[in-house]
Symmetry: C2
Subunit: 258 residues, 2 copies
Amino acid sequence: MKPPARKKRKGPPLRNLRLTIEYDGTRYFGWQVQEGKSTVQGEVERAVREISGSEATVIGSGRTDAGVHAVGQVANFRTSCRIPAAKWPLALNAHLPEDIRVVSAEDVPIEFHAQFNAKRKTYVYTVLNRDVASAIERDHCHFVRRTLDLAAMSEGAKFLVGTHDFRAFGSDMATKEKTIRTIDRAEILSERPRVRFVFRGTGFLYNQVRAMVGTLLDVGLGKAPPDHVKAVLEGRDRTKAGANVPARGLCLVSVEYD
Amino acid sequence: MKPPARKKRKGPPLRNLRLTIEYDGTRYFGWQVQEGKSTVQGEVERAVREISGSEATVIGSGRTDAGVHAVGQVANFRTSCRIPAAKWPLALNAHLPEDIRVVSAEDVPIEFHAQFNAKRKTYVYTVLNRDVASAIERDHCHFVRRTLDLAAMSEGAKFLVGTHDFRAFGSDMATKEKTIRTIDRAEILSERPRVRFVFRGTGFLYNQVRAMVGTLLDVGLGKAPPDHVKAVLEGRDRTKAGANVPARGLCLVSVEYD
């Protein structure tokens, strides 16, 4: 007679680990696992499997697109593996490619969910504004040759702060996705020749940050006045916003939880 | 009867163009042309040939090793091509890979020689001093986990300033190369978690910067006191200096001329 199945499932209790992850998105098809494609989530899940000997879903705070980077992506996974939290970064990094690094790990309550519990996210978009593109930073910034009017862009960015329907900056609204979001920081920082666009908010629609930057660049290039941003926002019409800027300039900097 | 050969050689006079070049050395076997290998000089010479239709030697201020980067390498070449200097960067960049960018070009006297006329060079070596390596900066810094004593390294660096025989920091002194050099700046800058080693001097021996940084890291890690640097310098014995740190942290920042 076979022993009852339940016995085989006995073992140490499940725990929940929260990771902070840095990655260079250049080589990846974004965060989320996709069949037959190299993704950051796929790499981290493989590393967890190799260490713990069992499958685990690594839940990210949100997807990042192909080519988008992160210095502070947050993720969690449940495991019965007993390795102390402080040893997980070293263990995972030994199984990960050099362009993905687990920066820290900590035990969190079993119900913690990196996506659902995320309260605020900060993204930074970097534009290199000079005569010639950069050899060294080429995969981490968007190159703009014509001189940008930072004051005009800063004025335009102010219209984005607050709770708004950001439909005009979202991609493909065929689905009935809710498009109300709150942004509490939208700033242009000058680090000439670099210009940083900083956005902090409760969440962002698919491609929202890249469309907001594209719209602000229209202002910075003198194609539209600062209050064009307000008009686009209130018009709720995606065709009026600027083009999505390339993924390579975008970086998920941090995710905040209560 | 054939026309005299001299007639065929008539054409616009030769001019001398000076370029400032930025490159990400990761993919290259250094600056200097080598048979069958991908080098920065080789790429720039190919681009010049494709634009001007004739061969030219592109003379760099000096070689950089495999994996070493530059934001301000200077080079020159002679050509009879009449394209105005201001248009050369755009033309060359259209023929160069993204990890090599010509930042500027200018006409200089025909006798200008980027190597022989170089008066001073500035190199910066970047160490990332934190718990975990960086995914994003992995090819542009050397990762050191143990906390470095910056004050001790700064004290040690002072011994390098001045005119000295730097034999102890040069590679392979079997040849009778002259090993006297002058360094007028040797500083440790804190940009935590990054630590920058800045060296400015009349010139540097092969691998000198990397051996000096290796020696200073021995001081920063507490393996030796600051005056160890003085002892190594005065001992003129390569085996007493620290190990060469990896190429990826090194960047040629600028070259000065009279």
